[in-house]
């Protein structure tokens, strides 16, 4: 746990940054893509050629990597504290290592998915 404790400000800054981007963008992304994506309303906006062009441009790549990774790190930190609140001191190492490992895996998955565009 020493390693985790030494880097506490880093986890917190990722949490804070992730919270900002999550608040700014996540509901918008959920509405536009996950809920309305299949609908006729978005059929021109999210057609394959346009979606691919948006996502694979430099702005799109940076946006996707930054937003999704930061959201995952935010969720990991929150999950860690939530687990501690529910299960107490004994769960501290599992909560911390587990949550941040998941966030790291998610970040790697995001970067690889974006680079494959």
């Amino acid at each position: 746990m020493n390693f985790i404790h030494k880097l506490e400000p880093i986890w917190w800054m990722l949490f804070g940054g992730g919270g900002f981007v999550a608040g700014f963008f996540l509901p918008g992304l959920i509405i536009s893509v996950l809920l309305l994506g299949p609908s006729d309303l978005m059929s021109t906006g999210l057609s394959y050629p346009r979606a691919h062009a948006l996502a694979s441009g430099p702005v799109g790549r940076i946006f996707l990597i930054a937003v999704i990774s930061l959201v995952l790190w935010h969720c990991a930190h929150h999950l860690r504290h939530f687990t501690l609140d529910l299960f107490g001191h004994a769960a501290a190492p599992v909560a911390a290592y587990g949550a941040y490992a998941l966030a790291l895996l998610g970040t790697i998955a995001t970067v690889s998915a974006v680079l494959a565009l």
């Binding site: 506490e8 400000p9 986890w11 917190w12 800054m13 001191h89």
Partner: protein, 247 residues
């Protein structure tokens, strides 16, 4: 004879010499219109059950001694008016602290944590008295004045869900106090407090439940102090901000 009303109090009792675990006992107390819960507890001790143990002192909200759970909520019993409650009033000792006896809790951990953040002005070289006082403008005082209002009543510790899970968490009052000194223009001890604060069970254990600020009787707002301290600490950690220390 003033008007009184019979009010039922359910009070947690714990006598370590005879009780295996805490137990509730009920008392019927004739309460006057303007009584607070502390008055009722004193009436129980004076007239009904002299074995009841509870802490109190100033009975006007400045000493911080009489903090207890009234109907589950941490409050100073000298500020909890009986007329504001309906039905049976349940009085318990503060949560998150071991119970010594009846309504008295062991506050050693609280005091230890307060001391660990070095809550005093730290200077590299103390100014000689002949050189006069440390001068401070009203604006500089405003920076930290709110956080200096803490009366060490430990209600925030009773309300904090993180402390319930992790008793070694530094806690709202200690962190707010450390932040109060870090913001004080006379203080040069920011770096000395850094290690006590910058730990997983120090400052960073806080998950911003905000309960501490909700129950604070002096409106210190420790939650805001902690979040500000987190921001300051993080920026110092990555060397964007300097640590204010001996120059």
């Amino acid at each position: 004879m003033a008007e009184t009303r019979m009010v039922k109090f359910e009070v947690l009792r714990f006598r370590p010499e005879s009780d295996k675990e805490p137990v509730f006992e009920t008392y019927e107390v004739p309460c006057m219109e303007d009584w607070v819960v502390l008055d009722a507890l004193n009436a129980i001790k004076d007239d009904i059950d002299p074995t009841l143990s509870h802490r109190w002192s100033c009975r006007m909200g400045v000493c911080g001694s009489c903090g207890m759970l009234v109907n589950g909520r941490p409050i100073l019993t000298c500020a909890a008016f009986v007329r504001d409650y309906q039905g049976t009033i349940r009085v318990e000792p503060l949560s998150n602290f071991p119970i010594v006896r009846d309504l008295v809790v062991d506050l050693e951990s609280f005091i230890h944590k307060i001391k660990s953040v070095k809550p005093w002005i730290i200077r590299k070289i103390e100014k000689d008295v002949a050189e006069g006082e440390y001068r401070q403008s009203p604006e500089q005082l405003e920076e930290f004045k709110q956080y200096s209002m803490c009366i060490n009543c430990a209600l925030c510790y009773a309300a904090c869900p993180v402390l319930a899970a992790e008793p070694e968490f530094l806690g709202p009052a200690a962190i707010a106090l450390a932040h109060r000194y870090n913001l004080d223009s006379r203080d040069e001890g920011n770096a000395s407090r850094f290690d006590a604060l910058n730990d997983g069970d120090g400052l960073w254990g806080c998950s911003y439940a905000n309960e501490c600020s909700q129950v604070c009787p002096k409106h210190v707002d420790p939650a805001m102090a902690i979040q500000q301290a987190k921001l300051t600490d993080a920026l110092q950690f990555v060397h964007v901000l300097p640590k204010k220390s001996f120059t």
